[in-house]
């Protein structure tokens, strides 16, 4: 976040040029922080030649709340609700990552039943997050309708969340050591119903977009990111997978009960916006697959591991990451042996992925910038923390 960027010489060297009739100059366009499709308060300064993008600069921080500083001043359990507010469209995943990191620090493991519940909730959350992405991405590219269909189906998930833990968005669903909420009567049936209803709906989205020539034209070959670029830029999640790297932490370093389920990692070939779209759509189908498996086989038993009332891990440090809907979500926690974490670092996928924007849009048109911001699936709450 910076003020007075218009005076930056490297961005705005218009004054140095002799302006004559029919002279062409570069144009600096300020997109955001109030803009319909920067997904929140992202500000992008575009340097344009006509409509062609010569370079971009992202200005972020408008939503900075100092989550990491807050963490240092809260106990471990107290900080748990705050992580929901980073990636607020995938709050459950955030909570899962944090709880697991602290569990690792405490050297405890959630009981099997809790692990299954966590998997179900997290996969539901993945679908919900991808729904938001699908809707807003389509909206960015000009299709007004998918957003409403996506939110209609996301509503079903949020209802399950509300029934399970009492909140829809910032769920605070898990606790360190397991879950505090036992599943409600009919939870399995709700999830199954959702899955059955959702798959035809997903076909409907695809009918609306996948073969639509305008959609294909707008997304194919747009914002191409090769696998090497992805790795060099630290880009993870569906963006990396769309570039052909079959890398998913749920498979590579299985956490919770993920090793017990069968699912595929969808990958793309070209690393363009269209492949990322297909990958995310496939991920929703895979999530349904996991859900159907998990919901059939929730084991009996306790849902909370033996965790002391006052959580006080031994001094030490741990880095734990999970596959959030947007990529690798990592928590690096340093404990000094007190009740409060000494340092909590969140490795936010959106923040790191957003860095690839410049690489992806150079030489493209203004309309592609919007498409690429949408395809990166950023949540500014997570970028700025």
């Amino acid at each position: 976040m910076s003020n007075g960027n218009y005076n930056r010489p490297d961005l705005l060297d218009l004054d140095t040029k002799q302006e004559t009739f029919l002279d062409t100059t570069e144009m600096v366009l300020n997109m955001g922080p109030q803009h319909p499709s920067t997904h929140g308060v992202l500000r992008v300064i575009l340097k344009l030649d006509g409509e062609k993008v010569l370079g971009t600069e992202c200005i972020i921080g408008y939503l900075h709340r100092g989550v990491e500083k807050i963490a240092e001043n809260r106990t471990y359990a107290m900080f748990n609700p705050y992580v929901d507010r980073m990636d607020y469209v995938a709050a459950v995943s955030n909570g899962l990552g944090y709880c697991e990191a602290v569990e690792k620090l405490l050297a405890v493991e959630a009981p099997a039943r809790a692990q299954y519940i966590r998997v179900i909730m997290t996969e539901l959350c993945r679908i919900a997050s991808h729904q938001v992405w699908l809707g807003t991405h389509a909206l960015d590219i000009g299709a007004l309708t998918p957003v409403f269909y996506a939110f209609r189906d996301r509503e079903e998930i949020l209802k399950i969340f509300e029934k399970y833990c009492g909140a829809r968005l910032t769920t605070h669903a898990f606790r360190i050591g397991g879950c505090i909420y036992e599943i409600y009567d009919g939870f399995e049936q709700d999830v199954k119903n959702f899955c059955q209803k959702f798959l035809p709906k997903l076909d409907e989205y695809e009918e609306l977009l996948t073969t639509n020539r305008i959609w294909v034209a707008r997304t194919k070959g747009v914002g191409v990111l090769s696998a090497e670029d992805c790795i060099a830029l630290g880009v993870t999640g569906p963006v990396l997978r769309a570039s052909g790297v079959e890398w998913d932490l749920r498979k590579k370093q299985p956490y919770e009960a993920y090793s017990k389920f069968q699912f595929d990692i969808p990958t793309g070939l070209n690393g363009d916006t269209y492949d990322r779209y297909l990958v995310r759509i496939q991920e929703m189908r895979q999530a349904v697959r996991i859900l159907l498996q998990a919901v059939e086989s929730i084991p009996a038993g306790p849902i909370m591991a033996k965790v002391p009332k006052v959580i006080k891990p031994a001094p030490g440090e741990v880095y734990h990451s999970i596959e959030a809907p947007k990529g690798e979500l990592g928590y690096y926690i340093v404990s000094d042996g007190s009740t409060q974490p000494y340092r909590v670092r969140v490795r936010p996928p959106s923040f790191v992925n957003l860095q690839a924007l410049d690489k992806m849009v150079r030489g493209m048109l203004v309309a592609d910038v919007v498409a690429v911001i949408g395809t990166l699936d950023i949540v500014l709450g997570e970028v700025d923390r």
């Binding site: 990491e68 240092e72 690792k104 790297v245």
Partner: protein, 233 residues
């Protein structure tokens, strides 16, 4: 070696590694930060901050948590052979390996890790502030190798005013991560193409994730000039 939870094995409070040595140094400092916690308007909140603090003196004996074990692998021996005492420590803690490296050679080690050891993905760069120490800052590079499916942390220490070599030339992703470290801790990276604040406004004074930066603290002057209000609280 994936992030497998090995669980506690050795149960003696041995003070070998650095992190266990810290609590004594940081405890007073943590209590400095604590009064800030109740950001509340309510003035009355006496017992709450006191309770954890009171529980603390009794605690150290109790948590018999996991302890770091020496980390032996080909990688470590290779690095040790090349850099000798530059590699200060190689340990594993709850199944996670880390190296502590002298800050003079960290750039070389990182480059080597990427080029020769296939740790080609820089997950994260972050820091921690230990104000009581001479070299106040830990810089932590978290690396991942797609080939080995393994994560390694490279840690180095640096002092106030000391500069580090930027890793942007190794991983472009280091750009924003280092900017954030600079923003939050004030650690300067040499050779960074555009080292400026990223989350906080350009003119902001202070680096908020340092331990001496109170949670309620803010750059009042900046707030006054730019927002036209007395306080953001």
């Amino acid at each position: 070696m994936p992030d497998e939870n090995k669980g506690p094995e050795a149960v003696s409070p041995e003070q070998g590694a650095k992190p266990p040595a810290e609590p004594t140094a940081s405890k007073p400092d943590a209590t400095v930060a604590k009064p800030a916690v109740p950001a509340a308007a309510s003035a009355a909140k006496p017992p709450d901050a006191g309770k954890p603090a009171a529980a603390k003196p009794a605690a150290p004996a109790k948590p018999a948590g996991p302890v770091p074990e020496p980390w032996d692998s080909e990688l470590v021996s290779n690095l040790k052979r090349q850099y000798g005492s530059g590699i200060k420590e190689a340990s594993t803690y709850v199944g996670q390996s880390y190296l502590v490296v002298d800050n003079a050679i960290v750039y070389e080690v990182l480059r080597r890790m990427r080029d020769d050891e296939q740790y080609d993905y820089c997950v994260d760069i972050t820091a921690a502030h230990w104000p009581k120490r001479e070299q106040q800052f830990d810089i932590i590079y978290i690396l991942y190798s797609f080939q080995h499916n393994d994560r390694v942390r490279i840690k180095t220490q640096t002092g106030e005013g000391q500069h580090l070599q930027s890793a942007v030339n190794i991983w472009p992703t280091a750009n924003w991560l280092e900017r954030e470290v600079f923003d939050m801790f004030g650690i300067v990276f040499d050779g960074h193409p555009d080292l400026k604040r990223i989350l906080l406004p350009d003119g902001w004074q202070g680096h908020p994730l340092r331990k001496d930066y109170n949670i309620l603290q803010q750059d009042t002057e900046w707030v006054k000039i730019n927002l036209g209000i007395e306080s953001g609280q």
